[in-house]
Amino acid sequence: MPLTDDDVREILRIIDETPLNELRVETDGFELHVVKGGGGDSADGVLTIEAPMLGTFYRAESPGAKPFVEVGSRVEPDTIVCIIEVMKMMNSVPAGVSGEIVEICPQNAELVEFGAPLFRVQP
């Protein structure tokens, strides 16, 4: 049974209206896995901040400057956690979640792909 775009939208709407955080539907040859809240929730409750775009990951505003966050830093959704540079354009990345940084995944100045894990956050 192929699902249409509209079917998927309908499923997402239903999930949005329920207290469920996660749903997995499996039928013959079809699997739908929906996670609420932007994804990245792991079993132990640690959240992941993912790269919103491909680019070069920088932990600080400029070379030698103090990093935006360290392991142990407390972040709020609008706290800037890093910069992703695309062709000399600096894009500030907000945490999007609240909690304490427990891991910084990429090295400074490393290429990160879209969706790559940047930080792990303990809410």
Binding site: P2, L3, T4, D5, D28, G29, F30, M53, L54, G55, T56, V86, M87, M89, L111, E113, F114, G115, A116
Partner: protein, 440 residues
Amino acid sequence: MKRVFIPNRGEIALRIVRACRELDLESVVGCSDIDRDGLAARSADDVVTIGPGPASQSYLRDDVIVHAAQAKKCDAIHPGYGFLSESSRLASRARDSGLTWVGPPPEVMKLAGDKVRAREEAAKAGVPVLPGHEIDSADGAGDIGYPVLVKAAGGGGGRGIKLARDPTELEAQLGVARGEAGAAFGDERIYVERFIAAARHVEVQIAADDKGHVVHLGERDCSVQRRYQKVIEEAPAPALPDPTRQALRDAAVAFASAISYRNLGTVEFVVDAETGDFYFLEINCRIQVEHPVTEEVTGRDLVAMQLQIARGKALPFTQDEVELEGHAIECRLNAEDVSHGFRPSPGTLVLFSVPDLEHLRVDTHCYPGAAVPPYYDSLLAKLIAHCHDREQAIEVLLEALEDLDVEGVETNRALLVSVLGHPDFKAGAVTTDWLERVMA
């Protein structure tokens, strides 16, 4: 050139990966996150996710593409077709960043992208163009003679073309056309061209190297169209008088030479089926979807040729050495629901199997379990038959379509079967309005 970045997806990305492999070049596919499991991404030497599913945030981001190509240590970009393949902005950006662009220089792409300027250059090179010009208001088209086609100067590829039968219709369409052109192409300029009722679409494949050699590789007929989008293509063009065929080929080479064209390109013409006269439409700076029919009849790998020209190699053959053998026809199998206005039919391919037939080539990125995402064009596979003659090629395609197993999405298979089996198509050349007429 050692490592080629391919910011594309689907069958063409896979096609380029294979051409790279033939030439001992490494390939890196830059894809959206939902294409990460695709065949192209898995076949390449390396892959990088350049953005999310919607093309505006991935395949259409020239900044991200150049950044990714550099970070992945590539020294060239092959754009494929669609997306940014005809973006002079991406080509410039690539060149400014020290990357080789597998295509014409940005200046030539800019000229080709401006359909009004391209018409003027064609006329200057002595190539016939249809009566027409840029217009500001509906009373500006009186000198051409109705009906006229209303086109966007920044458009091309059949997108956004409208027919106006009289000044009232033109008046009504002009505002809409302007708005659409501005939104789609960032260029509101509109031009009109005389409409040819019984038209054939014939295009000439050309190749030009850095040493100034320009050759053609024969022509293709792409007259089976729906809303200016091609459905079936073939090479050589059937039922074209030899003098016309030769004149078309010569005109394409003359135009390409006049604008200092480089790499592979396609010069598109409209042929008046009643008079046999032909007129320049536009030049396309990319590899075309339908390039395989030319590959089949010439026995040459066009994608490899693009890469070789881009790395500065001279064309290894002369015009006299281009020989066309037999007849090739391609049909495009699309995931679309023909009975509901050809709307795209995304989903997951529960079943996908194409028969293995003699004289049949299949270019596809599909396999059982593959996703057909809603974000992109609906092409599933190109079925190409190359035989001694046209009749045999039609038979091979019909057999292939009969034996095809696709489940999970709707396809246009039945439509392709009815076109290939139709007496009009079998008899030879059809005109560009034929498919919509017989379907009505």
